[in-house]
Symmetry: C2
Subunit: 239 residues, 2 copies
C-alpha cells in the first residue's frame, strides 16, 4: 500500500467506525438529552480526559527518538497545563462544574460506569504494551475530531440552557490542538509503516481506538437513555 492508500484506508475507518455515528452522540448534539444525562456524559468522559496524559507520557517513555518525544510532550502540556487550573483537564472540570457536578466526586471517578473504566484502561494499556507505531496510530481518531467537536459545540449551545461558551472552552482549544497533533501522527505512520504487516497494525490500532470511543458511548446509552440500566455504584442523576 502506498502512503496515500494507507491514509485513505485510515480515513475510511473513520467514516465507518468513529463515534460521531453513535446514537448517543446524535442525542447529545441534537439537544435530546436532559441535564442529568449530559452530566453523566461529562462525568464519564472525565475519566478519559484524565487518563490521556498517562497514555501520552507512557508513549514518550518508550520513544527513543528525541524528536518524537519533544513533539509528543506538547500533548502533556496541552492536557496538564503549566500550572494548576490550566490545561485540558482543568477545562473539562470547568464543564463538569458548569453542569453542577461536585468536583471532588468527578475527580474521584467513583461514579463512572465500569464500561468507561474498562475501555479507557484498555487504551492506556494498549499504548504501553503495543509497538510504538501502534501507539502513535491509536491517536489517529484526532483526524476526525474537528467535525464531531463542531457538531457537539454548536448543537449543545443551541439546545441546552445549562451549557454556555465558557463551559465548553475545552473544545475551543482542541479545535487547534487536535489537527496539529493528528497531522504529525498521520505523517509518522505513513512514513514508518512500510511493510504490509505494519500497515495492517496501523489500521487495526485505529479500529481499536474507535472501539474505545464507541464502547464509552454504548455504556452511557445503556445506562442513561430510557429505559436506562444504571449499574450498582454508578452516578444516578437527580430527577
Amino acid at each position: 500500500m502506498s502512503p496515500q492508500a494507507l491514509e485513505a484506508a485510515l480515513r475510511q475507518i473513520g467514516a465507518e467506525r468513529y463515534h460521531i455515528l453513535h446514537p448517543f452522540h446524535k442525542l447529545l448534539h441534537g439537544g435530546k438529552l436532559n441535564r442529568g444525562q449530559v452530566q453523566a456524559w461529562a462525568l464519564n468522559r472525565y475519566y478519559y480526559q484524565c487518563s490521556i496524559p498517562l497514555k501520552d507520557a507512557s508513549l514518550i517513555g518508550r520513544a527513543t527518538d528525541p524528536d518524537l518525544r519533544r513533539e509528543w510532550r506538547r500533548r502533556l502540556s496541552d492536557h496538564d497545563g503549566d500550572a494548576a487550573g490550566e490545561g485540558g483537564i482543568a477545562r473539562w472540570l470547568a464543564l463538569t462544574d458548569g453542569l453542577g457536578l461536585d468536583r471532588d466526586y468527578v475527580i474521584s471517578t467513583a461514579g463512572i460506569l465500569p464500561g468507561t473504566r474498562f475501555a479507557v484502561d484498555a487504551y492506556v494499556r494498549f499504548v504501553r504494551e503495543r509497538s510504538l507505531l501502534e501507539a502513535v496510530a491509536s491517536s489517529l481518531t484526532e483526524l476526525f475530531s474537528p467535525t464531531i467537536i463542531s457538531e457537539r459545540v454548536s448543537g449543545m449551545l443551541k439546545s441546552y440552557d445549562f451549557i454556555n461558551k465558557d463551559t465548553l472552552a475545552y473544545f475551543n482549544a482542541r479545535m487547534i490542538q487536535a489537527p496539529r497533533d493528528s497531522d504529525f501522527a498521520l505523517d509518522y505512520v505513513k512514513r514508518e509503516a512500510r511493510t504490509p504487516g505494519e500497515q495492517e497494525q496501523v489500521l487495526a490500532a485505529l479500529r481499536f481506538k474507535c472501539d474505545v470511543l464507541w464502547a464509552q458511548l454504548d455504556a452511557l446509552h445503556f445506562a442513561y437513555v430510557a429505559p436506562g440500566h444504571i449499574p450498582p455504584g454508578a452516578f444516578v442523576p437527580k430527577s
Copy 2:
C-alpha cells in the same frame, strides 16, 4: 521514623554508597586517565543520559496527580530541550564530540559495555514497574550530585588538555537542575512514605539506584583500567 530521620537515613546511604567513592571516579577527576579512558566513560555514560527521559516519562505515565506530572515534566524539558540540539542529551553529545568520538557511533550505543546496558535498563525497568513512591525515591541520588559534579568538573578541567569548559557545559546546567529536582523528590518521599514498610521501600530504592551508578563505573574500571578486559564488541580506544 520521622520525616527528618528518613532524610538522615537517605543521606547516610549516599555517604556510604554513592559512586563518588568509586575508584574510577577518583581516577577520572584526579587526572589519572588517558583520553581513551575518558572517551570510554563519556561513551558509556551517554547510554545513561539518553535513557533518563524514558524513565522520567514512564514515571509521568503512572502519576495520576497532575501536580506531580507537571513537576516531573521539567525533567523531560531539561534533557530533551525544546528543539533539536538543545537540552542535556545534546550537551552530552557536545562532550563526546569534544572528546573526538564519532557522533553516530555514540548515538548507536553499539560500543557500550554490556554492564552499562544492563544497569541502565534495570533502572528504567525499576521506574516502570515499582511503586510510584519507589520510582520517585530512586531519583534521590541527585541529592549528592552537586558534590561529584563539582569535583569532576574542576578536576577534569585542571588535568586534561582535551577537556574545556564548553565540552563540560552539561554539568553547569545540572548544578542548577539537580538540587531543584532533588528538593522536590525529597519532600515527596518524606511526605508520602508514612509506614515503616514504605520508608524501607524508599531507602531500598536509593540503595538500588546507587548500585546502578556504581555498577556502571565497575564495568568501566574492569574494561578500561589496566590491565583492562574489554568485552567483545565494546569500544576499543585508539592508543
